[in-house]
Amino acid sequence: MKPAPFELLTPTTLPEAIALFAADNEAIAIAGGQSLIPMMNFRISQPGKLVDIGRIPELSGITEREDKIIIGATTTHNTLLHSQVIKQNCPLVATAYEYVAHHTIRNRGTLGGNICHADPASEMPAVLQALDAEFQIAGSAGSRTILATEFFKGPYETALGDGEILIAIAIGKQSEAEGYAFREMSVRKGDFAIAGVASRGTATGSRINMVRLAVCGVGGAAHRLRQVEEFLDGKAVTADAISEAARLAAETVTPQSDLAGSENYRKALVESLTREALQETFAAS
C-alpha cells in the first residue's frame, strides 16, 4: 500500500501555482491529502505530478466581510469547526462539522480539498449548497465565481476546468432569524453519510418565506431539493406540511443501492432526516 512514484512541486504563491497547473493539465493539487493519499496508497490514483498548495498563505484563512465570510480553500476543517466567526455567522457549517470525518483527519483535511474531491457522501457540498455559497476559482485564463449549486456535477466530478484551482469559498452570513439543521445517518458514528440533509430557513408569522434543503449520499452529487423548497415556500409551518415535504423529498431523490443501503432504505432515510431537519429548522416558528 505504497504510492506509485510522482513529482512533487510546492509553490508558495498563487501565481506560481496557477502557472504550474497551466503547464501541466494532469497535475493534481494536494493540500491536506486526507482524501487523495488513501487513494494513492491503494494505487487507485497514480498522478504523475502533485502540486502541494498547502503552503500558499493567501489560500488559507477566514475573513469576515460585512455580509459574508470568505474561507480560503486550504483552511482546515478543525480551524473552521473551532472558529467563533463561523459559529456566529455560519452556524449551519459549525453544526454539520460534527459529522465530518474525525478529529485527526480534520486537523489536516481542508474544506477546499473536500469540496474538490466531491465524494457524493461528503457533507460539506450539501451544506454549502444549502447556504447558496459561491466558489472563487482561478486559472491561467483568469478568475471566476461559480455557485456551489453549479459546482458539483456528479460523483467525484466538479466544474473545475483544466488548470483551475479553487481559491476560496464565500458564504453569506446566516441571519439571526434563521433556523438551521443538519441530519445524517451513517452505519457507525463518523462514517460517510448513507444520507445527509442540510436545511435552513426562516418563517414570518409562522409562514415559511425562505427554505433551503440539500441532500448528500443519495444518488449522484450532493444537490438541492428544489421541488421540496418550492412546495414549502409560503406554507404555514405545520406538522403536516413538514411530513408532506419529507415525503416529497424521498420521492424526488434517485438514490443508488450499494453496500451501505438499498435504494428504498435511502429514500426512507431521506424522508425521516428531512422531517427531523425541518422540525429543528422551524422549531421556533
Binding site: 510522482f6 491529502g33 463518523g190
Partner: protein
C-alpha cells in the same frame, strides 16, 4: 524521481534528509529515523494506529507525505517518558489497562496528549468523543476512556515540570 530535501525537528532533534516525494511520513519516521514506536496499520487513514503529533496536532502519518513535514516539529511516542519514568499518560494507560496488544497504543497516546492539552478536565463523554476516530480491536475501548480520565487526574496532580521535561 528527484529527491526533496526536508528539514524538520523530530522529538526535539533537528533532522535533514533527502526523500522521495512519495515517501510517507510513517515510513520516514520508522525507516528513515529508526523510530519504530509509530506503527503502520491500514495505510488508508481509518485505523489511526499511525497517529503522531505534527506541530502540536495529531495527524495520520500514513496520510502525510514526509515532504509535507518539511519545517514541522514531529513528536512520536518515543518522546514521551521512558521505561524508568513513564509519562502520566503512559502510567494511566497501564493502570487502567487501556492496552492489550499495544499496537494502537502509541496512536491512542498521541490522541490523548493532544486532547488533554486542550481539555485538561474532560467529561467521560468528551473523552469518548476524543478516541472516536481511532480503532482498537483488543480492549473494547472502555479501559482506554478510563485511561484518558485517569491521565487527566495524574497530570493535574503532577508538578508542571514533568510535562515540560517530556517536551525537551
Amino acid at each position: 524521481m528527484n529527491k526533496i530535501e526536508i528539514n524538520l525537528t523530530v522529538n526535539g532533534n533537528r533532522q535533514r534528509a533527502n526523500v522521495e516525494p512519495r515517501l510517507l511520513l510513517s515510513d520516514f519516521i520508522r525507516d528513515g529515523l529508526g523510530l519504530k514506536g509509530t506503527h503502520v496499520g491500514c495505510s488508508h487513514g481509518v485505523c489511526g494506529v499511525c497517529t503522531v503529533s505534527m506541530d502540536g496536532k495529531t495527524v495520520r502519518s500514513c496520510l502525510t507525505l514526509a515532504a509535507q513535514a518539511d519545517g514541522a516539529s514531529i513528536e512520536t511516542i518515543e518522546h514521551l517518558g521512558n521505561a524508568t519514568e513513564l509519562h502520566p499518560i503512559q502510567q494511566a494507560f497501564s493502570e487502567a489497562q487501556g492496552l492489550q496488544c499495544g499496537f494502537c497504543t502509541p496512536g491512542m497516546i498521541a490522541i490523548t496528549r493532544e486532547f488533554l492539552q486542550h481539555n485538561p478536565t474532560p467529561t467521560r463523554e468528551e473523552a469518548t468523543e476524543a478516541v472516536s476516530g481511532a480503532l482498537c480491536r483488543c480492549t473494547g475501548y472502555e479501559a482506554i476512556v478510563d485511561a484518558i480520565l485517569l491521565a487527566a487526574e495524574l497530570i493535574a496532580n503532577t508538578p508542571i515540570r514533568t510535562e515540560e521535561a517530556a517536551d525537551e
